[in-house]
Amino acid sequence: MNQPEKEPTSFLRIVGGIGDQALYILTDLGRMGIFLLFSLLGAFRRPFRWKEVIKQLGFIGAGSITVIFFTALSSGMVLGLQGYYSLHKFGAEGMLGSAVSLTLIMELGPVLTALMVAGRAGSAMCAEIGIMRISEQIDALECMAIDPFRYLISPKFLAALISVPLLTAFFDVVGIMGGYLAGVKLMGVNGGAFFAGMEQSVTNHDIRLGVIKSFVFALLLVWICTGRGYFVQKIRGAGFGAESVSKVTTQAVVLSSISVLVFDYLLTAVLL
């Protein structure tokens, strides 16, 4: 006769819970990895969706110019003021141009641009794809034998990979002008010294680091935001319907922002 099954002890329940969570994380990572691969491959599948890429460039790139402008201007001005007060103590105001430009090109430009784009366009991409998933629009694409990656996701990847580095360059220029305004026009630092310091200290290596970071951050944010939306129904604890889309959108922005900050440190440590 069969013995009745024993209730698991609390220790076993905890171990089981950890194992279950580990399996979920592994499955999720695998899913997201395959999603990334298909999204990148989709960009090379015919027919190309250039019109959609241009539309997304407008949304992710041109649409973010205002927010990037104000973020860059204020960051640059704050850097100019802070840098002036710090350098003034050592009589090294002439280094202000160098300090402002290096900080912006290598760190603040790529990071703040990525965070702004994640908040503005990343959240919108995640919500759009999430809603398409729960209203069966993505299923409809698959049923019509239309590859949803080529049709829907890859244009967003391409647009982000083009527009985020360009926005970063725009951020750097506006930020340096902000630093110039605060340091030279407001605090009276010599303008020639400001630009001469910048010219002497900024090397191709520094610019390359900024460009690599902007590409990596663009990939991270578009991957996480579109991927979370695409798998909205598979994310544990997200709930159902509109609630799941709102929760997953918040999660996508938080996750992509954290990833940008973590990768910022890793890339700096490896490439500096």
Binding site: S135, A140, E142, C143, M144, D147
Partner: protein
């Protein structure tokens, strides 16, 4: 239609001992329990049952959007359950699908929605696409609504646009997921009439999932009834009360009000 007549028709789709369950590893919910049935080619099969009994799951299994836990789903002689991505894409060219919520692309107009499969899956020029979409719009009495977005349409209109999109590539098999849910009786009749007209014209195999019982049975050449994982197949609604399966008889008695044996 007699049982022999339906049985003699070559099956377009076959389910062989298919099981499917959902949920977390420790709390699995068995939706289909080793079910087997065939969908005859060129005929209408109605899949009926209560909510949450796995009717829509059957459609998703046919399309390869879900994989069975065990068993085989065959479309023609091809096993959908083991197909790769590319083979599935090719197979789906055979299908048209009308989704429960119509699944129209809400950022595209009615015209763009109907034209999408033609633009993406054929090499037709813009003029030819326009002409074909215009003809479909006229057949489905949607002329004048081309520039509207799905949010501006009534429920019945959305279904008609969904059907127009599903039929654009003249599919061999059309799957209908709850085609009349949320519609009033007049709209429901209109959708049924539209179904009959388009099937007569195109001769497709139809699989209709519905809980519009017993009205939906009037369209059926074959009825597949589902309850609590069990399934039985009938060629006429009058056979349902004498089903040998207990859960099917229970469904007939409780939901359909039949006196069962």
């Amino acid at each position: 239609m007699s049982t022999e007549h339906v049985a003699a028709v070559e099956p377009a789709i076959r389910f062989v001992d298919v099981s499917k369950s959902f949920g977390e590893r420790t709390k699995r919910h068995l939706v289909l329990d080793r079910v087997s049935f065939s969908v005859p080619r060129g005929k209408t099969t109605v899949i009926a049952g209560g909510s949450g009994q796995g009717k829509s799951v059957i459609l998703k299994l046919i399309l390869g959007l879900l994989r069975p836990d065990s068993g085989q789903v065959l479309v023609g002689d091809k096993n959908v359950s083991t197909m790769g991505y590319k083979a599935l894409q090719e197979l789906r060219m055979l299908f048209g699908v009308l989704f429960q919520g119509s699944a129209l692309f809400d950022s595209l107009t009615v015209f763009e929605n109907i034209a999408l499969p033609l633009k993406e899956r054929t090499h037709l020029g813009d003029d030819e696409v326009c002409a074909r979409v215009a003809a479909t719009l006229e057949q489905l009495e949607l002329t004048g609504h081309e520039e509207k977005f799905p949010a501006q349409l009534s429920g019945g209109m959305k279904k008609r646009v969904g059907l127009a999109r599903a039929l654009q590539l003249e599919p061999k098999i059309v799957l209908f997921d709850e085609p009349t849910t949320g519609l009033d009786p007049v709209m429901t009749k209109e959708i049924y009439d539209l179904f009959v007209r388009t099937q007569q014209r195109l001769g497709y195999t139809a699989v209709i999932v519905s809980h519009d019982i017993p009205q939906i049975f009037s369209l059926a050449d074959q009825i597949v009834l589902l309850n609590k994982g069990e399934l039985d197949v009938f060629t006429d609604a009058s056979q349902i009360p004498s089903s040998p399966k207990l859960k099917i008889r229970e469904f007939a008695r409780l939901v359909m009000g039949y006196q069962t044996a």
